[in-house]
């Protein structure tokens, strides 16, 4: 039996330290050093008892151990990540809304192609589709919209109805109402989940839902006032030029196009309000922490 030189134990230690990179970084940071130290203890004992064969015996024991442990750690981390996320069904349901919005916009432009000849409209529609794609990705990857977000988003509906059917209040009052609802939803979410993404996501989704409410009310208004539109000479001429056969489809297309812009503004402005709400919540939280510390040091 040949006795291994001490540097062979050190070489084994260096090789094992490299192999420890198979383990997730968090586990390595917490336990890498003691795992390596235990390995070196095993090597020293193995060499002391059986020389080079002892070292080989240690390696034959630690290699499968490391492989199994790495596989288990990575699998456990993967499951933890999946468990942290909301159920697939609720994420898919939330992500279906922006997809539905995008399909409606495309449908509206097929039915009402007049705007597609105008470059600024094409730009707006592309911006809308991009915003909805981002929103879909966010909702698929993270938690679904909270009840307060959905509630605040659709709470704008009476305002839209009022604007179209009854009193037609000033647009400024309506905009203020929507901004207030977005701020409420963003603040609630930012307080519940103190991350930048949570407030911005809540704001964007509330804005998108408020836009969707406007779109629905706009289409309903278009259908209920279709008879009067049919008597409008200018409108009828435009309809005849479009080559469409159904006046209802033409009206729906036009109204969806109008509502689509509200969704764009809702997503963008909502995300900005959400960021502001997160910042405000963080400031309040920091202020109360500082005052608690001051009170504690005063005692």
């Amino acid at each position: 039996m040949t006795a291994p030189r001490p540097d062979q134990v050190h070489k084994s230690g260096r090789a094992y330290a490299r192999l420890l990179r198979l383990l997730p970084a968090e586990f390595r940071a917490a336990y890498g050093q003691p795992v390596l130290q235990t390995f070196l203890d095993m090597c020293s004992a193995g060499v002391h008892e059986r020389g080079r064969r002892g070292l080989l015996a240690v390696w034959s024991r630690v290699l499968p151990d490391l492989a199994v442990c790495a596989a288990r750690e990575w699998t456990a981390r993967l499951w933890r990540r999946i468990d942290d996320r909301p159920p697939v069904g609720s994420r898919l349901a939330a992500a279906a809304l922006p997809v539905l919005g995008a399909l409606l916009v495309i449908y509206s432009q097929l039915r009402y192609p007049a705007n597609l000849t105008l470059p600024e409209y094409v730009f707006y529609y592309l911006a809308l589709l991009a915003s909805l794609a981002v929103l879909t990705a966010v909702l698929l990857a993270s938690r679904a919209a909270a009840p307060v977000v959905v509630l605040c988003g659709f709470a704008s509906t009476p305002g839209w109805v009022l604007m179209f059917h009854i009193a037609r209040p000033g647009a400024a009052a309506l905009v203020l109402q929507v901004l207030f609802l977005i701020a409420v939803a963003s603040l609630v979410e930012a307080r519940r989940t103190p991350t930048v993404a949570a407030g911005a996501r809540a704001g964007a989704v509330t804005g998108a839902l408020a836009g969707l409410s406007m779109l629905i009310v706009n289409v309903t208004d278009g259908l209920t006032t279709m008879a009067s539109a049919g008597q409008d000479t200018e409108y009828v001429t435009e309809f005849a030029r479009s080559g469409q056969r159904s006046l209802a489809a033409y009206v729906i297309g036009e109204r969806i196009g109008g509502g689509a812009f509200t969704i764009i503004y809702g997503v963008v402005i909502g995300a900005l309000i959400g960021l502001a709400a997160t910042a405000a919540t963080a400031l309040v939280r920091r202020g109360s922490t500082l005052s608690r510390r001051a009170a504690a040091s005063g005692e």
């Binding site: 420890l20 383990l23 586990f27 917490a30 336990y31 050093q33 003691p34 795992v35 390596l36 130290q37 235990t38 390995f39 203890d41 095993m42 024991r61 630690v62 499968p64 151990d65 490391l66 199994v68 442990c69 790495a70 288990r72 750690e73």
Partner: protein, 119 residues
């Protein structure tokens, strides 16, 4: 006595580590040696610390701040000890195994063979 009586974090290996810490603080390699000498699990270092991590998270063991004399100590080593909760969990597991063994011994499978009749 059923499997559900056992804390979900306490695996066979975890229970053996609790037993190894029953009579005092030990570092990782000592735990491995104790288990091997008792004829229990032959753990590798990675699995050992993975189990230690689980037990720490469950509050069954904790890192000990009591260290041996400086001439015997190696700062790179970490010493662990049982917590009160860990001691209770180990006792509960021993009791569960004791009851399980009593039931097992009362069955015909326990090896009390009948004397054979010849002829």
């Amino acid at each position: 006595m059923a499997e559900r009586d056992r804390p979900p974090t306490l695996t066979d290996t975890g229970f053996q580590i609790l037993l190894a810490l029953a009579d005092g603080d030990r570092h990782g390699y000592e735990i491995m040696q104790t288990l091997a000498q008792s004829g229990l699990s032959r753990l590798g270092p990675a699995t050992l610390y993975r189990t230690i991590h689980t037990l720490q998270q469950a509050g069954l063991i904790e890192e000990s701040d009591q260290r041996p004399a400086p001439e015997l100590d190696d700062q790179r080593r970490r010493y662990y000890r049982l917590t009160r909760h860990g001691r209770q969990a180990a006792r509960a597991e021993i009791e569960r195994l004791r009851r399980l063994l009593a039931i097992a011994q009362s069955t015909p499978l326990a090896g009390r063979t009948r004397p054979r009749t010849v002829g």
